[in-house]
Symmetry: C3
Subunit: 201 residues, 3 copies
């Protein structure tokens, strides 16, 4: 129940991060919705494909589709207030990352995958949607450009895996792991806030 709510929040956050990036790339409203859906549902679909859950949960849960689509339309409609905020993509991306990494790790553990592989599946769940977003928009994926990205995801996944081993409640460790990921990302963003970003070539 708590995990379901967190999943919805993660979907909205990633949908918004995708929609803002799509608006910045000057796509029309349909392109924005497609990117919102892909960013929000891509990581979880990848998780289910890797784990053999057919059809992927994300594609047959209509509230997920609804939330992601509506988020895309809302961002498109109000983009004059959002489009220049590069930071907002990064913030939303951090929240989505935290929630998806932990839910992906939990799902893999529940299916009996070994802990280290569950961490990898969780990282893929969290990173996959954003990587698809960036590849489709022809940007180098965030995970490759930001130092603390993959490490933050790994740390959060490890918290969930350790909590599972210790028999702690899944909802609790998911929250703790998510909070850790968001905190690490925000610290990383804050520390580099004014740092020069290396020129891409």
């Amino acid at each position: 129940m708590l995990l379901d709510a967190l999943e919805l929040i993660g979907i909205a956050a990633f949908a918004a991060s995708g929609a803002v990036a799509a608006v910045r790339a000057r796509l029309d409203v349909f392109g924005v919705v497609v990117i919102a859906l892909t960013t929000a549902l891509g990581g979880g679909a990848l998780r289910d494909v890797l784990l053999g859950v057919h059809p992927p949960t994300n594609l047959v849960t209509w509230p997920y589709l609804l939330v992601a689509s509506v988020t895309g339309v809302v961002v498109f409609r109000f983009h004059p207030a959002l489009a220049r905020l590069r930071r907002s993509v990064l913030l939303l991306d951090a929240v989505g990352l935290g929630l998806f990494v932990t839910s992906g790790t939990s799902t893999a553990l529940a299916l009996g995958v070994p802990a280290y592989a569950a961490c990898l599946v969780g990282m893929t769940t969290g990173i996959g949607g954003g990587a698809l977003r960036d590849v489709l928009l022809r940007e180098i994926p965030l995970v490759l450009r930001r130092e603390i990205y993959a490490v933050a995801a790994l740390a959060g996944a490890a918290v969930v895996a350790a909590g599972d081993r210790l028999g702690l409640p899944a909802g609790l460790t998911a929250l703790a792991g998510s909070a850790l990921i968001v905190a690490l990302r925000l610290v990383a963003l804050w520390r580099r806030w004014n740092a020069p970003v290396p020129k891409e070539h």
Copy 2:
């Protein structure tokens, strides 16, 4: 039987769209064939991976491989007559989109997937191959640049899902859905035929 024939036509159309795009990107004959195969078989392989059909039908049906490869070679051989025709990619892409969206939706419905998710799987089937083509050739995917692309796919998928609900023959609704998609795409192309395309950045 009718559906099998339509699938072959869709494969040839998408293979040709991929091959023309690859020729325009100045790839050699092997690169052209790889892109033709990827464009023609990628969407259906994605559909089967999402639905848990292993190994994907597209990869174990040799006429599909043959048709896609031969189409690639033919386009490469006769590209002087084709290479400048940007429109031909768009036309072939419309036919492939129509046939793949409807066949993907039908397949998902036959496996008991809910109607709205079947529409999403159908859209993914139709959009996936072309998106792979564009990502591999480093272009922003058509689906993101053309207003009526995703909507046309959704409309055709909805026709198939509605026909299934009403108990109409699958071949008939697949044809109707495909025709609707192709018509919507052609109208969209015709209306924008001379419209300035926004500069990419």
Copy 3:
């Protein structure tokens, strides 16, 4: 046993090819490790997803993860000696291609896939990791730019399939197929060594 050792060597070779490419793209150490993991494990994960092996062998075999990660770190640490060597990516890529194509073909045959489809799965296994590497780094995939790439992969896969049909030992034909692929790639590289590479646009 022999096949297991070959798989490890292929993983190290592809991890190194990914890491060198990532270093050339000026990624930081974490980005380099992510690209090393993706290049080394991506093709095999794709193979298992296509064949319905859940979760993918690559993700639950910790020596693979360890070898790929360590290779990434080592390449990053010693990149001043490696970074300018564009050739080293191509050489390592050839070795990884040979080993992955043959292991992918063998795996598919063992699961009862028809020979021609097993060749396609093997080619996808060999080409998939490098294609992911190139897409993530925004380069046109090697397989599309190098004439003998897809053909070499196909030839090696055919050797494995023919050996299987003739009842020859799998380890032997895998070695022969790998050697053929590496030889074809090296000849192709040597012949074009000083040839002008067409300007990308």
